[in-house]
């Protein structure tokens, strides 16, 4: 087993005892990430889909390289390697007729002029 360091991004540190760096063991990127979520189970839903595959917005770098350009999660790791979890930020999407917005206590938007000197 090889020891690697996993860099946890800021939005997920609440689920990893506030640690930004976690040392785990594994032979591949997938095994290392598996060890990470085994130690910190609350990370799982933010990193992985129900089938265990990485979510679309989760990017994994091994040292300086995106593993998508290598062997993906099956990429072999070396002793002392650094795995970095990098979020993609995305959203939007066309609102269709069946789009439903359910809300409780939905407040007013902050108007452009309120408290702002334009």
């Amino acid at each position: 087993m090889r020891r690697v360091s996993v860099r946890v991004p800021t939005p997920l540190r609440d689920y990893a005892d506030q640690r930004d760096d976690v040392e785990v063991e594994g032979e591949t990127v997938a095994a290392a990430l598996g060890a990470l979520v085994e130690r910190y189970p609350r990370l799982r839903r933010h990193l992985m889909a129900e089938d265990g595959a990485l979510r679309s917005y989760v990017n994994i770098y091994l040292n300086e390289d995106d593993v998508r350009h290598m062997d993906g999660p099956a990429t072999a790791v070396g002793e002392g390697d650094v795995i970095t979890i990098v979020p993609s930020i995305a959203g939007g999407g066309l609102r269709t007729a069946n789009f439903e917005l359910r809300t409780t206590n939905f407040g007013q938007a902050l108007p452009h002029a309120e408290g702002i000197e334009w």
Binding site: L12, D14, R45, Y57, G91, R102, N105, G107, A109, L110
Partner: protein
């Protein structure tokens, strides 16, 4: 039915903790407003950098989405560069903003699927600004109260 056709309601709850606010300098909102106007009819996007207590500046980022009129995307290379830039300036990435050029400042199904916890998401819609944070169980957004705080946009000053 393909997943994209399934109705996915977006749940929004008032943040349980009344202290759940997004403190942001009005000058920063003005910067974002200008960015949204310049980018229309495309969605604009960027990052909210803060000193731990409040958002002190907004950083414009490039919208990498192919259908930029209804979507936005900030890829990992931009995020890595942003994090490094924030570190150099002693600031923290507190969240991200984007615009809805023809819609309200309400999150879409795509917004919640892609969202990360902890970050604040500020949306500039035709009706103004609203801010949200994803709940840990990923089922809903909590709406944050936007509190203007005094001071200039650090970038613009």
């Amino acid at each position: 039915m393909p997943p994209s056709c399934v109705t996915r309601p977006v749940m929004i709850e008032r943040a349980k903790n009344q202290d759940e606010t997004l403190r942001v300098r009005p000058a920063v909102l003005k910067t974002i407003h200008a960015h949204a106007r310049a980018a229309a009819p495309s969605e604009c996007c960027g990052a909210l950098l803060g000193d731990g207590v409040q958002v002190v500046t907004a950083v414009r980022l490039s919208n990498e989405a192919e259908r930029s009129g209804t979507r936005y995307r900030i890829g990992p290379d931009q995020v890595r560069e942003l994090e490094a830039d924030a570190d150099r300036r002693g600031l923290t990435v507190l969240g991200f903003y984007h615009s809805h050029p023809v819609g309200p400042a309400a999150p879409s199904p795509g917004d919640i699927r892609a969202a990360w916890p902890w970050y604040s998401y500020l949306i500039k819609g035709v009706d103004g600004f609203r801010a949200y944070r994803l709940l840990e169980d990923r089922t809903a957004f909590a709406e944050l109260r936007i509190t203007p705080s005094p001071g200039p946009d650090r970038m613009a000053s």
